[in-house]
């Protein structure tokens, strides 16, 4: 089976910062807005090199969303930056009316998503943002898995005309996707091939899915791991092609099991070729303070949880077949 190696841990938010800086140099219409979290979002380099195109809005996220919508009228491509919680739930109606319904070309860039925000606790650990954003008509929702992919996705969304939600995180995680691999919106990446189970993961859970597939391989279970960075629009073809072969699915995400990637995958399956599915996700609860690793263990969002879910789903597949 294909092996992936960690080329050095890096935070996905730094991938965003690097991508934004590159865009700043290549596309004069790209502008940045930030609600008092410039350092946390890694937007400093862009702000320093392009001060005329960087707007510090203060702790006023609703206003930031509206200003971003207005900047598109005049041809600008605004990238807003704040934590995922303040990028979505706090400003949902502003996004809904001024960006999504109005069809504005705004890129809502959200860091510190999910449990891995860590010690700050549940007030800041949004686990509902993928659901909130995917429900908005025409909103593209992307949750890349590592530094390289976050950088590539940041660059790619500038060329897409329409609203995008780009979700990334705080902790340093293995960087394993190819440097400078182009990011294609709506396209999954088939990372490993196998015939026993399809593991569809997004964001930080993709590396965990790869670790799980190695463990499963040593037990004689062939796992097909798909990196589903684009949660919406979903790469239905890849899901169906893989499931045709494996007959069962495990989805994995740093999100509530309600509203996330797993639900979207389930909808594809039941409306095409139904298959047993297990959900590695937070079980309808808020998070809490702790280190990212501790939290991922406690809430069942790691390689071990994916292995367990795989055993469960294969058992069910075999029951159905019998």
């Amino acid at each position: 089976m294909k092996k992936y190696s960690d080329t050095g841990t890096k935070d996905t938010r730094s991938g965003f910062g690097a991508g934004l800086l590159e865009l700043g140099n290549s596309n004069k219409n790209v502008v940045g807005l930030c609600a008092d979290l410039t350092g946390s979002l890694k937007m400093n380099a862009f702000a320093n090199q392009h001060p005329d195109r960087f707007f510090q809005v203060g702790i006023a996220e609703a206003n930031m969303i509206g200003i971003a919508a207005g900047l598109t009228i005049g041809g600008k491509i605004p990238f807003t930056g704040t934590f995922a919680n303040f990028s979505t739930g706090r400003v949902y109606d502003q996004i809904r009316q001024s960006i999504a319904y109005s069809g504005k070309n705004v890129k809502i860039c959200a860091s510190h998503a999910g449990l891995t925000l860590g010690e700050d606790g549940a007030t800041h650990q949004i686990l509902e943002d993928l659901g909130l954003m995917k429900m908005l008509p025409n909103m593209v929702v992307i949750n890349p898995c590592d530094y390289n992919q976050t950088k590539a996705a940041t660059i790619a969304i500038a060329d897409y005309d329409g609203p995008v939600y780009l979700r990334f995180g705080r902790p340093k995680v293995p960087n394993f996707t190819a440097t400078n691999a182009p990011f294609i919106i709506g396209k999954g990446d088939l990372l490993t091939e196998g015939s026993d189970v399809t593991i569809i993961a997004t964001g930080h859970l993709v590396w965990e899915a790869l670790k799980a597939s190695e463990k499963l391989n040593s037990m004689g279970i062939g796992a097909e791991v798909i990196n589903m960075a684009t949660v919406k629009p979903l790469d239905e073809k890849m899901i169906l092609n893989s499931t045709k072969k494996t007959g069962c699915v495990v989805t994995a995400e740093e999100h509530n099991r309600f509203g996330g990637l797993g639900e979207s995958v389930a909808q594809v399956l039941v409306t095409n070729t139904p298959a047993p599915q297990e959900f590695v996700a937070v079980n309808d609860s808020f998070g809490e303070s702790g280190t990212p690793t501790e939290l991922m263990v406690k809430y069942g969002l790691n390689a071990d949880a994916i292995v367990l879910a795989t055993h469960k789903v294969i058992k069910r597949k075999n029951l159905f077949r019998a």
Partner: protein, 281 residues
């Protein structure tokens, strides 16, 4: 355009408003009637714009954003009468498959509308963004927006008011329709705001009072003054003291016509008070 011509347009716009709302038995006539003079003055005298070649980006043109989107009848009428789209389309207002949605939207591609509004409090932020884009594009045209006074109860407005002065957004004129009424009653009864002018001044805006917000000459003078004050590091706030329901006697002086339609008899009375000057749609 002469004062008499503008007054004639206002009269026709008032007819359009009450006819549109009457036809579908829904919509918001009160605030629409109260803002007829201001929007006619903007679109037929003060704004530099191109109704026939509508482009979303509005480069080289002044741009207006309606923040209090429920007064859609007045903006639809003014846009149609200015030539953005055919006046016959006014008869589709609020009907199925219409571009003239209950609240304005870009979704249906209606010329002249650049942002959806209706959920209150968002238009000033959008206007600031568009004003900032103009500065980045070295486009010296202006951005206008209109807010309701009740709308000022939304917190986002004050985020935007703070930002506009702090960041010297001085190519922006934000008018507030001070009719002192909202759905549940007078603004003082619902949530008293004290002196709106003092609040904007405290946030370091230039404030211009228009004590007769339904008087074309006073509006004209105020807009001329407001434009003259732009470019000096401060945004400009125009406080328009209007009568909700102005031009239709039985709708004036009450909040009750905020969001209800006249019946057949009331329509005839309203039309008799406003001469058909440009031809009904």
């Amino acid at each position: 355009m002469s004062h008499d011509n503008l007054q004639a347009i206002v009269s026709q716009v008032r007819r359009d408003i009450v006819r549109m709302v009457h036809a579908v038995k829904s919509g918001h006539p009160g605030g629409s009637l109260g803002c007829a003079e201001y929007l006619v003055s903007l679109y037929f005298k003060h704004m530099n714009h191109q109704p026939k070649n509508f482009e979303m980006d509005g480069i080289g043109q002044d741009i207006f954003f309606l923040s209090n989107g429920h007064i859609s009848p007045v903006i639809y009428s003014v846009l149609a009468r200015a030539g953005y789209f055919d006046i016959s389309e006014l008869k589709t207002f609020r009907k199925l498959n219409s571009r003239l949605q209950g609240h304005p939207t870009t979704h249906e591609g209606l010329e002249g509308i650049r942002i959806a509004s209706g959920s209150l409090g968002q238009g000033l932020s959008v206007a600031i963004g568009a004003a900032t884009a103009k500065k980045l594009n070295k486009d010296c045209c202006f951005i206008y927006t209109l807010l309701g006074d009740g709308e000022l109860q939304e917190g986002q407005i004050w985020e935007a008011v703070m930002y506009a002065s702090a960041k010297k957004v001085d190519n922006l004129i934000a008018a507030v329709d001070v009719n002192e009424k909202q759905i549940d009653g007078s603004t003082d009864d619902v949530l008293a705001m004290g002196s709106i002018g003092a609040k904007f001044k405290a946030f370091d805006w230039v404030v211009i009072h228009v004590t007769q917000g339904n008087d074309l000459q006073e509006i004209d003078a105020a807009l001329t003054e407001a434009k003259g004050k732009l470019g000096n590091g401060k945004p400009v706030c125009l406080l328009l003291q209007t009568d909700m329901g102005n031009g239709v006697d039985f709708m004036m002086g009450t909040h009750k016509w905020h969001g209800i339609a006249p019946n057949d008899e009331q329509l005839l009375s309203a039309l008799s008070q406003n001469e058909e000057t440009l031809g009904d749609y």
